[in-house]
């Protein structure tokens, strides 16, 4: 399906199926069309082209209230004139659920989102995170067949987010809801979802299980967008999977496609697979010579920034438990990795980490 606002293409031929009971995450840079896609699924937007099918039936023209789908809106859209309790009770009451059942369910959901004590307040008297939790409760209380969540946990602190993630998972297990999830928290996407769709500029770039997306990205964009990745410009030198990187020849397992000798490509290695070695890599490891440029403490890991001989940055995440040699910027070291930690990706012109809207998209 495609959606245009005037001549602006917000979603461009997105085409995917979501299985029943699946936990489906959508990732993508800001403004790439995630919210618009969700809104089409929920029924607030009619696709300019294409159709939306729910359980086989074309629902492109079915109004939202007849789709058994609920949404947690990015902007919450809480009813300002109702108390928290009434906000949450809105859905069940619309469906004429008996009032003691409503009471029970709302109580339960407020308990889950830890807002039982705030039931009588108006949304405007809540903090941002509290409002988000009300939005979550308001959608969950309906036990819908599918739940569309637009960054539902973005305003919550890590602990609460984790607790909510667990609750969501539990509800999914118990009720069998299909979750479609927009998030900017990659860890969240990777931990929670069965499959992930990575979107870019209105197009779906890759769909797959988290591990697949992480370990076997199909494009430079996906590799760069999910997790961090060292992307080294490479030239294919041999058909068997040998490339030249920064003047050095390295063996590499080819990713899909059949790179021909001389092709320009990109070699990807995840920072956590990069080891910082004082000596040239040995026992099966390969690597390039680098200069240390920076060291940043990041809680569980230390981030070591290096520069390859051709100037490309290489980052290594070194666990606190790994005994790291004492390094200072300027030191010469080796960045090494096991050959299967690297992947060869087709080169792309656009820099993947800068999701700049192309000028021709806006008129």
């Amino acid at each position: 399906m495609t959606k245009r606002f005037g001549s602006f293409v917000a979603v461009d031929r997105a085409d995917f199926a979501i299985g029943r009971g699946e936990f489906f995450a959508m990732l993508g840079p800001s403004g790439c069309g995630k919210t618009t896609t969700l809104r089409m699924i929920a029924g607030f937007e009619t696709p300019t082209e294409g159709v939306v099918r729910l359980e086989g039936a074309d629902v492109s023209r079915v109004p939202p209230y007849r789709r058994n789908v609920n949404t947690v809106f990015q902007h919450y859209a809480l009813f300002p004139h109702m108390s928290v309790w009434d906000n949450v009770a809105f859905g069940p009451r619309s469906r004429k659920v008996p009032s003691d059942e409503v009471k029970r369910r709302v109580g339960e959901l407020l308990e889950i989102v830890r807002l039982s004590d705030f039931a009588k307040r108006r949304p405007s008297q809540l903090s941002g995170g509290q409002q988000q939790r009300v939005a979550l409760a308001r959608a969950l209380v309906n036990y819908p067949a599918a739940l569309l969540l637009d960054e539902p946990l973005g305003a919550l602190d890590l602990k609460l987010r984790q607790a909510m993630q667990i609750e969501l998972k539990r509800i999914q297990r118990e009720v069998g809801i299909t979750f479609v999830f927009v998030t900017h928290d990659q860890e969240e996407a990777l931990t929670m979802s069965d499959r992930i769709a990575v979107m870019n500029e209105g197009r779906v770039e890759q769909i797959g299980a988290p591990r697949e997306i992480y370990d076997e990205p199909r494009s430079v964009f996906v590799a760069g967008f999910i997790g961090s990745a060292n992307l080294l410009p490479a030239t294919v030198t041999g058909p068997g999977g040998e490339v030249e990187v920064g003047g050095q020849r390295l063996p590499v397992p080819a990713a899909g496609g059949d790179p021909r000798s001389g092709d320009h490509a990109v070699l990807m290695v995840r920072p956590e697979r990069v080891r910082v070695l004082v000596d040239a890599p040995a026992n099966g490891h390969v690597g390039v010579r680098c200069t240390v440029t920076d060291l940043v403490f990041q809680g569980p890991v230390v981030r070591v920034a290096l520069a390859a001989p051709d100037g490309s940055p290489v980052v290594a995440h070194v666990g606190a438990a790994d005994r790291l040699p004492f390094l200072r910027p300027g030191d010469q070291v080796w960045a090494g990795w096991e050959p299967d930690a690297a992947r060869l990706l087709p080169a792309r012109t656009a820099a993947p980490s800068v999701p700049d809207p192309h000028p021709e998209e806006v008129r």
């Binding site: 209230y65 789908v69 009813f79 300002p80 004139h81 809540l126």
Partner: protein, 290 residues
Amino acid sequence: MEREPAPGVKRGRFAPYGLLAPGVLWLALFFLVPLATLLRMSLSSKANRFDFEPDFTWEWSNYSDAITEFGEQFRRSFAYAGIATVLCILIGYPLAYVIAFRGGRYRNLLLGLVVVPFFTSYLIRTFAWRTLLADEGPVVSLLQDVGVLADGGRLLATSWAVIGGLTYNFLPFMVLPIYVALEKIDVRLVDAARDLYSNGWRAFRKVVLPLSLPGVFAGSLLTFIPASGDFVNAQFLGGPNHTMIGNVVQNQFLVQLDYPTAAALGFILMTIITVAVLVYARILGTEELV
């Protein structure tokens, strides 16, 4: 509508204090002085018809007499004005709604169409209605054809003509405030309601309507107040059995020169309307209102 300040906002700490001055001035000049003058007048007694500086004698009988004598006109005024206000809501709300939510880029134009007829003067409008409702006019024929009206039936000089005239004349006073209120409603809230299994009607009733109540309230005041004091419609569209309190006041002032009675009538009007408005506010939900 209650709009609680956003987390911890003290509303209007930012109000320039100078702004209070007009308010105070207004209170004194426009509120207290005329009201006091009027109150005093309403409790005075005239020595004779041409006693234009009546003595202030706590003449409560002005009130009781006015009520017993003009009770019928009072009842009629409030009935007519009330029905006209309800009709204005019934006609004006959908109009404002359609313009605000479905008007798209024609919103200005549509709003114009609603308001433009009212740019002709009040009297002319009332006269136009007279032509419209005339015994040989289009409306009567239509109603007779569909059988709503008996063959010899008429509309002019009936209560319905007066109510119709009031409704017609005060419609923009209803449409505009409702439009202003509707126009501010965040459509995403309607999306949310529809997402939560509310069909259009329920979404309207539970979200749009409550959020637009201040507009309905303002519009009702702007319609009911002048309608209940109106005398033009009753005079030109109604018969002698459909006079309203405005006609009585007009007569007392212009013809009888009985200012104490007129002032008493004004006060009674004010009291009844105030009570009516309070009741109305409570029905709409006071707490929701402001």
